[in-house]
Amino acid sequence: MIGILKSMAVTMKHALDGKTFTVEYPDVAPEVSPRFRGVHKFSQERCIWCRQCENVCPNDTIQIVMDDQRNGEQYNLHIGQCIYCRLCEEVCPVDAILLTQNFEFTADTKDEFVYNKEQLKNVPWYKGIDPLASRNPDRGAWVGEGEGEVDYQ
């Protein structure tokens, strides 16, 4: 009986202290960490069409179409299929693809989640945070060349 009363005392204490843990989401936008990985942003100006991101992507989310002269034509990314592993951003030598902190996206059908390069370009920064700045100090640390000859895949 003591234990039950103790339990009830605990919950009553929480009820009376008036503190809440949840937030009113659309009004109070949550603070996301600078490293948070959200929807991609693509910059055609920077991209050198090396296709490394397409190559490293674990589940073929990125599709790149090039013409005969190896000029990039399309850059499609299915943000609903993406697993947000950030390997494309890691592997990109020119920071052409970045994962913003933007986690809010909606669509009526799955097809609408296939973003082309224009849509990817127009993805807004979340609260104006450029992820490059917050992640930059660590860049370069991850790439290993291994012993011996350099292997560019």
């Binding site: 339990s7 009830m8 919950t11 009553m12 929480h14 009820a15 809440t20 843990f21 009113e24």
Partner: protein, 366 residues
């Protein structure tokens, strides 16, 4: 002046009442004027309509809104606050949502029983309110066997649950129905016997008399007189009755007829839309009926200082509702065999002990 005539008739109606306070139908009959069966029937209907609507409004507030808010308070959340002030309009939104859903009728349900069950449950609870004195003249009837009537109609709910569980043609529903029967039988007896100890104190089954018997002063401490509420006179019986009542209305830790994590939703698994609303309604009215019985038997009914009687009555049954939600937040559900064991081996014995003890004490004093 017409009003004056009405007023006069009301006072005469008041004077003509021989025992107890004026009942609501009598008041209404007085307002309508005239005599005869027709007036009695009409005023009775109007009074019943008023009382039923009071309960339904309270249920509507309690179900979609208060329960959410209370649960949220216990779990550090905010809960509904978007629709209207304090989210109160969620009641409307919920009503529209629930009523506009499709009424799914599964194959092979036992049709008349399946349709009747959702009606039996809320109406058995509403019937109980017929004899409850709610203060401020709100009482439909005051038979001499009022207490027995309340328990009798409240237990009709079990039949509704069995009908629902059996007719649904669903194994979870059947399990829930059987559980609810086992539980109701096990806890009805201690409930009634504990209530009988109050009857020994009051010397009557009539609800208004039981309330009246509690108005006397129990003890007077520093000028403040504490009334002779049976909760103060016999706190042991009060606790027993509280526990048995929780089981009777199937709230935590005795909510095993529903037991969402075990048997999905028990007897109401197959119900949707309007039928589900009726079940939902019935459960809440049962909680309030439980609170009303508690208030009448142990907490002096509508008695209380300053505020009008009806307000006090509402406060008391809401306090009981709050208590059920509080228990829900912190007390785990017992297992069916443990529940039966507590009922037959614990509650029954204790309630009989309480009855005998009360009888001896009352006999010695009187």
């Amino acid at each position: 002046m017409v009003g004056g005539v009405f007023l006069q008739q009301t006072t005469t109606a008041n004077a003509s009442a021989t025992t107890g306070p004026t009942l609501l139908p009598e008041t209404i009959a007085g307002v309508l004027g005239g005599n005869g069966i027709l007036v009695d029937v009409v005023s009775g209907f109007i009074a019943a309509f008023i009382v039923a609507n009071i309960m339904l409004v309270m249920t509507a507030v309690a179900g979609p809104w208060a329960k959410r808010k209370i649960t949220a308070a216990f779990t550090d959340r905010i809960a509904v606050n978007r629709v209207g002030p304090f989210g109160l309009l969620i009641i409307v939104a919920d009503a529209v949502r629930l009523l506009s859903k499709e009424l799914v009728v599964p194959d092979d349900v036992d049709r008349p029983a399946w349709d009747l069950a959702p009606i039996v449950l809320p109406f058995s609870a509403l019937l109980g309110f017929a004899v409850i004195p709610m203060g401020s003249g709100l009482q439909l009837a005051d038979p001499e066997t009022g207490l027995a009537f309340v328990f009798a109609v409240a237990s009709i709910a079990s039949i509704g649950l069995v009908m629902a569980g059996y007719a649904s043609n669903n194994k979870y529903s059947l399990l829930g129905a059987l559980r609810s029967i086992a539980q109701n039988i096990a806890y009805e007896i201690p409930l009634v016997i504990t209530a009988a100890s109050v009857v020994i104190f009051a010397g009557t089954l009539q609800m208004s008399e039981i309330v009246a018997a509690q108005t006397e002063t129990f003890v007077s401490v520093a000028g403040v007189s504490i009334p002779q509420w049976y909760a103060f006179v016999n706190p042991f019986a009060f606790v027993l009755f509280l526990i048995a009542n929780m089981a009777e209305i199937g709230r935590n830790p005795f909510d095993i007829p529903e037991a969402p994590t075990e048997i999905v939703a028990g007897y109401q698994t197959e119900y949707s839309s309007v039928y589900f609303v009726l079940f939902y309604l019935g459960e809440f009215i049962h909680i309030f009926l439980g609170g009303a019985i508690m208030a009448t038997l142990f907490l002096g009914g509508p008695a209380g200082p300053v505020l009008p009687g009806f307000v006090w009555f509402v406060i008391k049954i809401w306090a009981f509702f709050l208590f059920t939600q509080w228990a829900r937040s912190a007390v785990p559900r017992v297992r069916i065999d443990q529940l039966i064991e507590i009922g037959w081996k614990g509650m029954l014995v204790l309630s009989f002990a309480n009855l005998v003890l009360t009888a001896i004490i009352v006999g010695v004093i009187a």
